[in-house]
Point group: C2
Chain length 540, copies 2
């Protein structure tokens, strides 16, 4: 019996445990939308901009460690989703991008919303890009896309589906996903592991650096055990590479975030980077990023990161949990138990106003992280990002999500996906006002589906990162105290949010902020708190 | 004397008569922002999303026929601007995209916001993509970019500027733009022109089809003269290819828009397409797009369009003004003067409510086009686009701007660029509610710079084009009267606009709409009118 290929496609999705299709559809997606009318095992989650389509899928995949589906429309929809697809890629998020394309004849004729090189657009952001050539081939192509997205190192995959093919009926059987699921994790070679174990055993002042990969692959417990067994302090990876925490911040062995100036780093004779990037550089380093003389072990699931910038003494490629467990079993106990020095994070200073009288972002972040203790946070704030990373409680790998992509607005959709993936957690997104203008359509989906995420927007009415760059540049701007390209004052973000059906409130004192945050924890609908911060503080 | 290369770059822009730099900057653009502090001959126009950065530049270029500059930030900024760059490309808009890139060393190390194949992202949307290799090369590279953008057929060009290069001081002289400006127009070969002239002279029922190119290159007057001399009726090109009108709708020889069912088309023995696309197909045609038996002349500035889909009897490549003037001089007067039949456009029916009680989009468009007579319109409405095209007064090529890209939201930024380019014209943008959510950040720039554009949003609370596609598909959706992926009700668009500082008002009657439109004509600031239309009308 011939069946609509769109219906078979939904079977493939179900076989991979997909329950949501995120989309901002166009006419090319009619067959799939139509197939959804008579099914209740796959849910359509409508979005109103492809940036949201992709980031909500990414957030869901990050929270669940399962594949997700972003169904994009034509070339314009694909390009609108690319910056957040880059974010998904950096986090090894298995987002399967299905891309509805115009009918084959329209493509070949260069018609409306077609591109002659669709795959060029997406190639550098996915593990595989393939445009199905026949209707019968679609189920297998999509099945293979899931397989590829999940094979380690995981990541986004793209499949182009032409409208004429997607609207056909086919006889093909549904591929059985089970045969395409396999344990693709690898462990480093025994020789490499032995070399690493020896370096660790011989080190006198080793430091472990926990990367984002640990949370993704469930290796945090193993690292805690390794750290405790060896009595070695642990740092989070450098802020620019951190997608999520790799070690509990409330563990006694936790010692803050990797910076070359960290006393433990300066004194270390061995640095062991586990699932971390080394490094995702923002600008040319002014100081050496690795202490001279220290030995370096660098492990990552993805070989592209190992010895890519800095040479290593031992490089280890493979699954972080497998390799940490192997180290646990092979590294001997230290001859003398190490005494991990106590960690005293920089004390929070008492809140003060800036010269201009505004709230300091750091004080706002203190209140937010304090009031939202226990809430999973999604960070997407440029200026306040550094202090947020330092202050946010991160007891598990699912407590704090951020993107190293620089794709503004990512967090507004991602927070929705995180909430869909962790329905029993409270979720809040901490945003900048510049970020807000990139992610606004997420508010529509939040309101429509009543996804109870709390959005907190720090509104300094500035592209403060641009101001900071001008300050570093040290030219006319500094001399004349003029900061072109930085002043984005104007919008009432709370009112805009309310206009979307997500009740917004603007506050300008820490007391009001605290009160609103407390209230937000009890709400069963999305909400937005806009907190006005100092526009004269360009951050660190 | 060494000078900052950023300052030299601004000299190059000035040499090409550029007065505005549109940008949504990041830290990589610091040197250029800094150089702007001490200059008043180039104005920074800040935007808060790259979709706006590109569309406002595109709108300016369309209105002025001059090059414009969109300065984008890194890979994420570039991808965010791509869908509107596609729009600029289709309109042959000479938008010079300068793209700030991270420092060379950060690029090679794959650092923050870098891409290993930046040129792949933009290649298919520009005439040339080049990343400057030295600081000394930047002025020449950018100078060449302008030259290439303006050489016919014109179009967008991309130059990548690494931060380390853009921050240097150089000794290089400013290239003299004058030597790089040249008349790049071409005329078709005399043989091709003679063949066309003979076909026209021999035809008994020829029809001229005026394409978007005519307005871009200033050829409308020539076509009016040709049409009058020969006594030949003129149609606008097919809606899917139309970027702007190519013939005055109030001219007695104007006969509506090209559709194969048009009586003049059905009866024609010769169709002369001038600067039109033949065709920009939306879907596979159900009827022949050209009448069987009619001969076809197709001319375009861009040879890619000629004989690309449909074979021609004569193809002409070259500037549309030059070739129409050549035809004027060579085609003999008809032996007997032709009698152009009178054109009676479909009469506007009296406003009615839909079954569900809502305003019909066609009635709203009638009121809008009537009340805004004389105002330059920018159209970006999917469902209402067809009727808007029919009803909008188009006396000149600058009365109506639209994009054939399918890039939603384009019109919100483009309208600002059109207004900047035609400060003495009133400008309004006619938008759909789906479109609105793609273009919202344009409201920030409108408010900040107080650009008095009138935004009219037809809010049917639907992706009606998706509903129409489901209806055409004729499956479960039709049988069960369920329309997944179409319902985008919720936002109060007027309130959102007000939140941006662009006063918005929602109306739900034609009388209120008329009143608001009349009032808007007298305003000296931007405004938005949200008119609620029927959600049960999926359009034609």
């Amino acid at each position: 019996m011939p069946r609509p290929v769109a219906d078979v496609l939904l079977d493939v999705l179900r076989a991979w445990d997909v329950r949501h299709i995120f989309t901002c559809p166009g006419s090319t997606e009619a067959a799939v939308l139509d197939a959804l009318v008579v099914r209740d095992d796959v849910e359509l989650v409508l979005t109103t901009h492809e940036g949201v389509t992709v980031s909500i899928a990414d957030g869901l995949s990050r929270a669940t460690r399962l594949p997700s589906v972003a169904y994009l429309h034509a070339n314009v929809g694909l390009t609108n989703g690319l910056s957040n697809l880059y974010a998904a890629q950096l986090a090894y998020s298995p987002v399967v991008v299905l891309n509805g394309l115009k009918a084959s004849s329209i493509q070949s004729r260069g018609g409306f919303t077609t591109g002659r090189r669709m795959r060029d657009l997406v190639h550098q952001y996915v593990k595989s890009d393939w445009q199905s050539l026949t209707a019968e081939g679609i189920p297998e192509d999509v099945n293979r896309a899931f397989r590829t997205a999940l094979t380690e190192p995981a990541g986004p995959v793209w499949v182009g589906l032409s409208q004429d093919l997607a609207e056909q009926q086919i006889e093909a059987a549904v591929p059985l996903a089970d045969g395409y699921r396999f344990d693709s994790r690898t462990a480093p070679s025994p020789a490499a592991l032995a070399a690493a174990a020896k370096l660790i055993a011989d080190a006198r002042r080793p430091v472990l650096v926990a990367g984002s990969e640990l949370a993704r692959v469930g290796a945090i417990d193993a690292l805690v055990a390794l750290s405790e067994k060896l009595g070695v302090p642990v740092l989070h990876e450098d802020r620019r590479g951190l997608e999520r925490p790799g070690f509990p911040t409330d563990h006694p062995n936790f010692h803050g975030q990797y910076i070359p100036q960290h006393p433990l780093v300066r004194d270390a004779d061995l640095l062991v980077f586990l699932g971390a990037r080394l490094f995702n550089e923002f600008e040319q380093a002014r100081v050496p990023q690795l202490p001279p003389g220290a030995r370096v072990i660098h492990s990552h699931t993805d070989p592209q990161h190992v010895a890519a910038i800095h040479g290593v003494d031992v490089g280890l490629v493979g699954d972080q949990r497998l390799l940490i467990e192997a180290l646990l079993n092979t590294v001997p106990l230290p001859v003398e138990p190490r005494d991990v020095p106590a960690y005293s994070p920089e004390p929070r200073s008492a809140p003060t106003r800036t010269v201009g009288g505004g709230l300091r972002p750091a004080d706002v972040v203190d209140v937010v992280t304090e009031a939202l203790r226990g809430v999973a946070l999604v960070g997407d704030a440029t200026t306040a990002g550094g202090v947020l990373q330092q202050r946010a409680e991160q007891r598990t790998g699912d407590d704090y999500f951020v993107s190293t992509s620089g794709s503004l607005g990512w967090g507004m959709g991602a927070a929705l996906g995180v909430k869909l993936g962790m329905p029993h957690r409270q979720v809040a997104a901490i945003l900048g006002d510049g970020v807000f203008q990139f992610g606004m359509p997420a508010l529509w989906t939040a309101a429509r589906r009543n996804i109870p995420v709390t959005y907190v927007v720090l509104n300094n009415e500035r592209y403060a990162a641009v101001g900071a760059a001008l300050r570093r540049f040290g030219g006319h701007a500094v001399r004349q105290n003029q900061w072109p390209g930085t002043d984005i004052a104007g919008p009432n973000i709370a009112d805009i949010s309310t206009g979307f059906g997500v009740p917004g409130q603007r506050v300008d004192s820490l007391a009001d902020l605290r009160e609103r945050l407390d209230a937000a924890r009890r709400l069963d609908h999305p909400t937005l708190i806009e907190v006005m911060t100092a526009s004269d503080d360009f951050g660190p």
